[in-house]
């Protein structure tokens, strides 16, 4: 425990920066974690992807796979760009130039797929009356928030790295991001980033806070276990009743 204490926020860090880049992210993370625990324990019945394919399948056929495959690539890219320090990739023999080129190209493809897919999903939700009526409050929060985050993200990339001179977010935004998890917040690292990056980071924080209260929870139920389980599932009546009513129809308070 002799490590040098984290440099305290210099006098240059304003109160607003502390609020935006320390308080807000931590509050959102706390809501994210506690919200998930609460919802998982209280609302197994509502924990679903809420499929609407029955009502509309023409847009979904393209929009669904496009959005999800784009999202997988975008998430992988964010893990690579935010969590992995530049020094690590350098040490692995990936030069800054190679990283930057790959990131911009792959990121653009993934981002465009995600934007196009999300656009189709939003379009079907708005244009198909039966789906619009089945859209609940959590969707009305989720879709604009997700769309804002995605659009801000791709706009930042386009403005600064595709058409602009290039912005090295790995030395600013990423430093701030890792600082949050290392419990050594570095608000000053991000406060000077371009506006689009800052807005993207903030909307992402809000998205994480909203996550547990929306259909996004289905992400954690990705059924990878299906690949290895036996096809037929048998269950005893008594075992089933012990963990809540396994009826085929309708929600019940269960035995929780």
């Amino acid at each position: 425990m002799n490590a040098a204490p984290a440099p305290l926020p210099a006098a240059s860090t304003s109160g607003a920066d502390l609020l935006l880049w320390v308080a807000v992210p931590y509050i959102c993370l706390a809501v994210f974690v506690v919200g998930h625990v609460w919802r998982y324990r209280q609302d197994q019945f509502g924990w679903t992807s809420r499929t609407s394919q029955l009502l509309e399948h023409r847009w979904l056929r393209f929009g669904g796979p496009l959005f999800h495959s784009g999202a997988f690539m975008v998430i992988a890219g964010h893990v690579g760009g935010l969590a992995v320090p530049g020094s690590w990739t350098e040490a692995a023999g990936v030069s800054e130039h190679v990283y930057h080129t790959t990131a911009v190209w792959a990121g653009s493809v993934a981002g465009l797929a995600m934007v196009a897919g999300l656009g189709m999903l939003c379009a079907r939700r708005l244009l198909t009356r039966s789906i619009r009526l089945a859209t609940d409050r959590s969707d009305k929060l989720l879709f604009p928030l997700l769309a804002a985050t995605v659009v801000l993200g791709i706009a930042a990339t386009a403005a600064h790295n595709v058409f602009g001179p290039g912005y090295d977010y790995r030395s600013t935004v990423s430093v701030w991001f890792r600082g949050l998890f290392a419990l050594r917040p570095r608000p000053e690292a991000v406060s000077g980033a371009p506006l689009l990056f800052r807005l993207h980071a903030l909307s992402a924080c809000l998205l994480f806070a909203a996550w547990p209260f929306t259909r996004l929870v289905h992400v954690w139920s990705a059924p990878v276990g299906y690949l290895v389980r036996p096809y037929l599932v048998y269950r005893r009546r008594s075992a089933a009743a012990g963990r809540g009513l396994p009826t085929s129809a309708g929600p019940g308070p269960g035995s929780r």
Binding site: D43, L54, L232, T247, G250
Partner: protein, 516 residues
């Protein structure tokens, strides 16, 4: 069935159903009472856990029997292994984002409600006020253009019935073009509670399961994540997506009633008294092998081979070892389903070629053949005429074989001859005539068996039709979980509500508030 040379494996009990199609008058009482009990809720207005179809007809959802299109059930791959027709596990996970083989609401029908309020609130005027149909999905006035049994009694059949996937052989051309000599019968359908359920096997989240105690296939609503693979995998299309909750729902075989020793609602309310409920014991270790039988037409015998004779002492010992209680063994011995399916062999499964080993079986209807005899100027009551008709009048026979025996007309003809011989023998006895035994023997029945069958099929007392053993006291604690409330309680019902973030606040602008 003598089985002493075979070691009995893991014995399981299944509550199964047989329907005697000759008695079905297509009154839809089963469908209506089922709907009132289970699916009169928002999100499943379009779903009929039990429906009655007119055959020939396209069915509900449209052409569901066309597995080239809908990819339901199992198939054998090139190496003879049993695989889901909709593809392997990886393929299924890759289609989570958009399931290419899912029926759309148009394939079922658009559910409607009516402006009933207009009947009482319309201002005084010269015209009678009417209750116009309104879509439950959009809240807007709509035209009703399809339903769960649109071609009831062959109405509209010349237009639509040609789409029946069972009318695929060369013989089917005649069915399409000679409707003056047409035939029809009603086919009530519900979840088959299969021994080898494709829906359970396709569920990515493991929310669907077959109950060990009674074989009922259920969806755990708390574990369903709405991946909708079950709908595709079920070849009978008897799993439905609740479009309000985004979760799968299906026929429950009225398990709260069955656990209490009562028949299902569809059986209890059946006006024609054509349904039979009873236990079947089967060897769970041989299910996979039977479902992988190479020839489609051998599947019927393979499935019958999985069933165990409850009177066989070896079977009873194995059943006790598997934990099946004594009163259930007794019920299995009295099971009308075992008698119809395995002893007299007059009941047949619906589409055995789907390889799910379905557990709702049907006594095929004699009426199409009898109608044909009449049309040909023959005598319905003369077994010779009917026997001749059964073998000569190919069309109804081919059609029934498509439905019940994967196209093997011999098996269907055998059952129909048995039923004919039974009719003629019992009629002769009632009239004091002699000589029916010859026809009986020709159909492979003894006089004793004929009387048993007559008691089951014609007398059909309540206690003979439904032999449903109640669930066990040992499970009482588990069962009380369902006792104090309605299992289909909807949000906003009585009692403290749970958090229901996933449930949309339904704001359908229909006067009826969206209720069907």
């Amino acid at each position: 069935m003598p089985r002493d040379h075979v070691t009995v494996g893991r014995v399981m009990a299944q509550i199964a159903m047989v329907m005697n199609l000759d008695k079905c008058i297509g009154c839809h009482t089963c469908s209506v009472t089922c709907k009132q009990t289970w699916t009169n809720r928002t999100g499943v207005e379009y779903a009929w856990f039990n429906n009655v179809e007119t055959k020939p007809g396209v069915g509900y959802p449209r052409r569901y029997e066309d597995q080239e299109q809908w990819k339901g059930g199992w198939a054998l791959d090139r190496r003879g292994r049993l695989v889901l027709r909709s593809g392997g596990r990886v393929r299924r996970l890759l289609s989570l984002f958009s399931n290419p083989d899912l029926p759309a609401i148009e394939d079922y029908y658009e559910p409607v409600t009516y402006d009933y309020d207009n009947l009482v609130s319309a201002p005084a005027g010269d015209d009678m006020p009417v209750a116009r149909p309104r879509s439950v999905l959009t809240g807007r006035p709509t035209a009703i253009t399809w339903g769960a049994n649109w071609e009831d009694g062959l109405g509209g059949a010349p237009e639509n019935a040609g789409g029946d996937p069972n009318l695929s052989g060369a013989w089917a051309e005649k069915v399409r073009f000679e409707f003056e000599q047409t035939f029809l019968f009603h086919l009530p359908r519900l979840c088959e509670h299969c021994l080898n359920p494709a829906c359970v096997s396709a569920c990515p989240s493991g929310a669907m399961y077959k109950r060990v105690e009674d074989g009922i296939v259920l969806v755990d609503q708390d574990r369903c994540r709405g991946w909708r693979m079950c709908v595709t995998a079920c070849p009978y299309k008897k799993v439905y997506v609740n479009h309000a909750t985004g979760k799968a729902e299906k026929c429950t075989f009225c398990f709260p009633r069955v656990e209490a020793g009562q028949p299902t609602v569809c059986s209890e309310t059946c006006v024609g008294r054509l349904r039979y409920l009873g236990l079947l014991l089967y060897d769970a270790d041989r299910v996979g092998e039977a479902a992988a039988t190479e020839d489609d037409q051998d599947l019927l015998d393979a499935q019958r081979g999985v069933f165990l004779d409850p009177r066989d002492p070896a079977v009873r010992a194995a059943a006790r070892a598997s934990g099946i209680p004594e009163d259930w063994l007794d019920a299995a011995r009295r099971s009308p389903v075992y008698d119809l399916v395995a002893r007299h062999k007059v009941a047949l499964p619906l589409h055995p070629e789907y390889r799910t080993l379905p557990m709702v079986w049907y006594v095929p209807p004699l009426s199409p053949v009898l109608d044909a005899v009449d049309a040909a100027g023959g005598d319905q009551d003369d077994p010779d005429h009917v026997f001749a008709a059964v073998t000569r009048l190919r069309i109804p026979l081919e059609y029934l074989a498509e439905l019940f025996t994967a196209g093997d007309t011999g098996v269907v003809a055998g059952v129909l001859m048995k039923l004919t011989a039974l009719r003629s023998y019992m009629r002769g006895r009632a009239l004091g005539e002699e000589g029916g035994e010859a026809a009986l023997a020709a159909a492979g029945l003894t006089a004793r068996e004929a009387e048993d069958l007559h008691r089951l099929l014609a007398v059909a007392k309540y206690a003979d039709r439904y032999v449903v053993p109640a669930a066990h006291k040992e499970d009482a604690a588990a069962l009380t979980a369902t006792e104090d409330r309605c299992p289909v309680e909807s949000p906003g019902g009585p009692g403290p509500r749970e958090v229901m973030l996933g449930i949309p606040a339904l704001r359908r602008d229909t006067p009826a508030g969206g209720r069907p």
